[in-house]
Symmetry: C2
Subunit: 208 residues, 2 copies
């Protein structure tokens, strides 16, 4: 009965609990039968809520898996915008915030990724989500560099950064999630900082 220190209102607590329960139940069902062979109605039944509520909470079946995942939080960049740095530094900081959100149970992230990578609908949803992150990142970069958000270089930079991270995600999945995700993504940004000079990969004209 004493305030446990974080939540306000029984309503919000029940809602949060229900969402967590639905996600758990859904992931279990997906693990067992595969994403597309499980209906929202089954998830709802097994979670003791109505299908209506599932859609109210998550909006779509895909978001049961992807909700909140891989979204850049601009506040992480804006809050510290006194501490300046290059866009890549900013990215690292934002990424760290995202990772802290994820790193709690990387096992869950692995389960999610397994389904995402094997189902077209989920893959599309993730791609779109990541794509949206590029826009967010672009706006942050534009502000930092005092350029238009639609500047070609800003857009390319933002999409390149996100692309690099996506490449890392892909690699991570290809190695059966062996290495901690955080390390993989860090190395991706390192590669970008070095300008992708992968022995003649980008330009052969570098050395005569």
């Amino acid at each position: 009965m004493t305030d446990l220190g974080q939540e306000i209102g029984l309503r919000h607590r029940k809602r949060a609990a229900a969402m967590a329960r639905i996600q758990d139940v859904a992931l279990d069902l997906f693990d067992e039968h595969g994403y597309e062979r499980v209906t929202v109605e089954q998830i709802a039944d097994a979670s003791d809520v109505s299908p209506s509520s599932v859609y109210r909470y998550f909006g779509s079946k895909e978001q049961i898996v992807l909700l909140g995942e891989f979204e850049f939080d601009t506040s992480a960049a804006r809050l510290e915008d006194d501490a300046d740095g290059s866009p890549l530094d900013v990215t690292r900081r934002m990424l760290r915030a995202v990772m802290d959100h994820l790193v709690g149970d990387e096992e869950r992230t692995r389960r999610q990724m397994r389904h995402v990578m094997s189902d077209p609908a989920l893959e599309a949803a993730l791609a779109r989500q990541v794509y949206a992150a590029s826009e967010t990142l672009g706006e942050v970069f534009a502000e930092r560099l005092s350029r238009s958000a639609n500047d070609l270089e800003v857009q390319v930079l933002a999409h390149v950064v996100v692309g690099a991270l996506l490449g890392g995600l892909h690699h991570w999945q290809g190695t059966a999630f062996a290495e901690p995700l955080r390390d993989v993504l860090d190395r991706c940004l390192d590669l970008l900082e070095r300008g992708l000079q992968i022995d003649g990969a980008v330009s052969r004209a570098a050395s005569p």
Copy 2:
């Protein structure tokens, strides 16, 4: 009656004609009412085919807009694999092939992009398609560089290249498609070749 030199069989010709007609009719309807407010049944009726045929031809409603668009054709790279070059050179070559396919009527591409950028479902489909292109590109790069297709640097490079192009696409849309798409994408690859050294954008440690 004389052979007009390209098509074989009445069947294939009718099929191709029907697909082209469906796409035209669909784009018109989309322009007028918006993508999601037009049903496949309406498109089918207006095109004098059955809904079944629309799905047989295009597989999904999204593909009526996106079919064949933005797909890298690996054959373009493999065919000329005697002529070697850096991965970026290969990309340019593949991109040129893609562009030649598109440049026929860039006006149509603009119409498509307008819808793609404003509808979530289409945006997701495009994102997924582009994402798939990264995998294709990764395989080509891996072969060129004699590395594993799952190599982190290969994956990052492939996704970065595609990301750069996506950034260009985004910029193109943001400028109301002013410049020819070909030029925009060329400049994206130029930026990559220069290593994204956008006045301290990537790394501030470059100059002390």
